[in-house]
Assembly symmetry: C2
Homo-oligomer: 454 residues x 2
């Protein structure tokens, strides 16, 4: 019997999150206050986040214990499976070993609950009654809806209008878990009203939805803000995925040569690669390749600039040093909504700047082609975001076929595509279009990058 | 640490299916040829099914080895988890222990692939090139699409038209896995054309879709027919679920007092309960209760008659001794499409007749209420079919609260509701209606029960 799925007992579930900050070869640039240009202090952030998360954001500790209350909820679906993709290998005729770590078994269908549950827990513990957040395609909004429901918090989700209209099922999912969801731009915030006044038909953007959610939080006494990616504490919570994957690869008797994952804000992929990168930094496999895959329509790493920028469109957040296309950039409406964000997590950006990871940008038509190939071999229909990782994983496996090398390829399969079937329909009926890299719009957006006060 | 999820290593996955036939206290009534009234022979069925499946249908062996090729595919998602529903117990304030065996982790999102993969395998092995089948809500059609894709068979699915229109995502799922799917009634068969001639707007029914698929198979030389429930060999393949659940309950240190599952054709629930029933028959827990839950709109067990009837609307199948509402009965359009079938698996019917199992019928509004309660406690959003089982599981847990008894309740959670979110929306917005038991229509349908030739 050859094992296809490598399962860990719950006793083997990691009980700590891994924090890369103290292990980075150069320290992460500080987050700056946009008014003073000085590094932000925990106090500057406490209107938005609970202190426990703020301390995690800056923590010098390599490992942070996962509270039992959070572990108990993780155990409802964790540890998640790691599979050997025997059938895909055979379909490709490659000597490579392909593995995928699958987060789609969570009730929300993606990796997002790993941080949603943690964020809801810490907010609840500090007496917060209500959270506000934004969501693009709905993966994050639905995960936080589940997290808030589990700790008895109210939640309001500002959902990018184009997705709100295209993906009613994700909205209903949030409502099933008790959250309130409105299309963004909405009339409920100053930021939303300002955009609607100029353009009543605005389809919205993730940057704008963040502005609305942040404004909601600062204008409601009982409310905090919650972000589903980008920030250090979010990436931290996702490291449970990579730590599990390490144990499972060990069960499988192999160590990855290549790790590939899609990046929107960066948390899914960072969660998988950071524990392996720690190994590499500490003297492990030197030639381990870590490849971030972004949408060609939103190529933050490959075409962005490394600069201080706002996390949101309206400029309400602190300044983050990151690869950015400019905070006013609105990406073309590709189906991988989770990849449509102007910036990239500071930790991932820093890793890229230091040459610790690589990046590739992919068009959506070949990405869906890879997604269908995967579904026909492995059964699982991947989310369009995850299919970006599969595309590059397949390319690397085919390169092995060419070269005759038996490499171990680990794909971060962040979620399933059950709520993206209309996108698959477009692909299958030949109606799916590609969007060229919108160079002019990026130039325009980058012209309005904020100046850091001296 | 309290385990929430009980996981089996793939080495512990059952390698045999369990066949209840030789263990039944009274033999199952034979399947009859509608022309002669004599028991059908394997030869009578070989135009529809491969001989391996026909032999399983009548097998006197208690256990049948699962071929390695099928096991290899099962291992892509099996063993499936069994969870302790701690949060649901707490929400109900019950002393009962609630467990659920979850089949929603399969790529198709339900238990159906367990038999789909097996049926595709045996057909392929006997040289068949193409299968025809029907599907209601699409769970079966998508599972068989996956199974056929894995063994390189073509598949045509006749999908009940009301579901074809309401659930485009299930259709796209089938197409993603390479199947062809048409709405039934279709113009592609005699049975379909006859109905359309009388009623061009016919919404279709499962019984009619079966007629179309059977006709497709017998009129194409390279084609076999495949059924997703009802028949003995289908229930046989599903027993892997119950065998796993037994091992997992043992891991949990408890034995069920009550097993509850929804029944449409009966295969999901039989797959879970038959291995436990074997235990009971062989002298195990005497007071184990096994409760089948059906839709009030389609109450085959509680309101049907135990009689010989056709499996399909047009009367193309052999005669099965079963609880039936009459093969011409078209149930009201409740959302649990998988429960809208006029008959009940002969094995399940026989068990019910012998008093080995109980039955309850439930209305869909309280069923969705239970489904939302489950989702808000356990995260997983259940399929409307599975929510029927949850409803009765919760009722039994509340009865324990009343009586102060600590019973162990095992719920068969056959699938997730990701493709049923519009039904949840109807429920959440107060628009969901109940359908009274359609007594007159049943009387009419039962008046046309076939006469068995003497």
């Amino acid at each position: 019997m050859e094992r296809t799925k490598f399962v860990l007992d719950q006793k083997q579930m990691p009980t700590r999150w891994y924090n890369i900050l103290p292990d980075l070869p150069q320290p992460l640039p500080p987050v700056l206050h946009p008014g003073t240009g000085k590094p932000v202090t925990p106090d500057d952030l406490k209107r938005l986040f609970p202190m426990a998360l703020i301390m995690q954001e800056f923590s010098p500790e390599s490992y942070i214990e996962i509270p039992e209350e959070i572990q108990a909820i993780y155990r409802m679906w964790r540890p998640t499976p790691l599979n050997r993709a025997y059938r895909l290998e055979k379909a490709l005729g490659t000597p490579a070993r392909i593995f995928y770590k699958y987060e789609g078994v969570s009730p929300a269908g993606s990796h997002k609950p790993n941080t949603a549950v943690a964020q809801a827990y810490y907010n609840k513990k500090e007496g917060v009654k209500r959270l506000a957040t934004e969501t693009g395609a709905g993966q994050w909004g639905s995960a936080l809806a589940m997290g808030c429901m589990m700790f008895g918090l109210e939640l309001k989700v500002y959902m990018v209008k184009v997705s709100y209209n295209q993906k009613p099922y994700r909205r209903i999912m949030m409502e099933t878990w008790g959250a309130k969801c409105v299309p963004s731009p909405s009339m409920d915030t100053q930021s939303g009203r300002a955009v609607l006044a100029k353009d009543p038909d605005s389809a919205g953007s993730l940057g704008l939805a963040i502005s609305e959610a942040v404004e909601d939080a600062v204008t409601h006494d009982d409310t905090h803000y919650s972000l589903g990616s980008v920030l250090n504490h979010v990436l931290l919570h996702q490291t449970i995925v990579g730590q599990e994957a390490m144990k499972q690869m060990e069960m499988a008797g192999h160590y990855p040569d290549i790790i590939v994952g899609c990046v929107g804000g960066g948390s899914n992929f960072a969660g998988v690669y950071l524990p392996f990168l720690r190994d590499k930094i500490k003297g492990g496999k030197k030639n381990l390749r870590i490849i971030a895959v972004e949408a060609q329509a939103c190529p933050h790493l490959t075409k962005g600039v490394y600069a201080y920028d706002f996390g949101d469109m309206a400029g309400l957040t602190p300044l983050l040093q990151m690869y950015t296309l400019g905070h006013t950039f609105v990406p073309p409406p590709v189906h991988a909504g989770g990849l449509r964000y102007h910036g990239m997590a500071p930790i991932v950006s820093h890793c890229y700047k230091l040459g610790l990871i690589e990046a590739k940008a992919e068009f959506q038509v070949p990405v869906f082609e890879a997604g269908v190939k995967f579904a026909r071999a492995e059964g699982i229909i991947p989310a369009p975001e995850s299919a970006h990782a599969i595309k590059v994983g397949i390319d690397e496996a085919l390169a092995c076929k060419e070269s005759g090398q038996t490499k171990n390829i680990l794909i971060a399969l962040s979620g399933h595509g059950h709520f993206d079937m209309s996108a698959y329909n477009e692909y299958l009926t030949g109606k799916l279009a590609d969007y060229a890299y919108p160079e002019e719009k990026v130039k325009e957006a980058q012209a309005s990058l904020p100046k850091v006060p001296a």
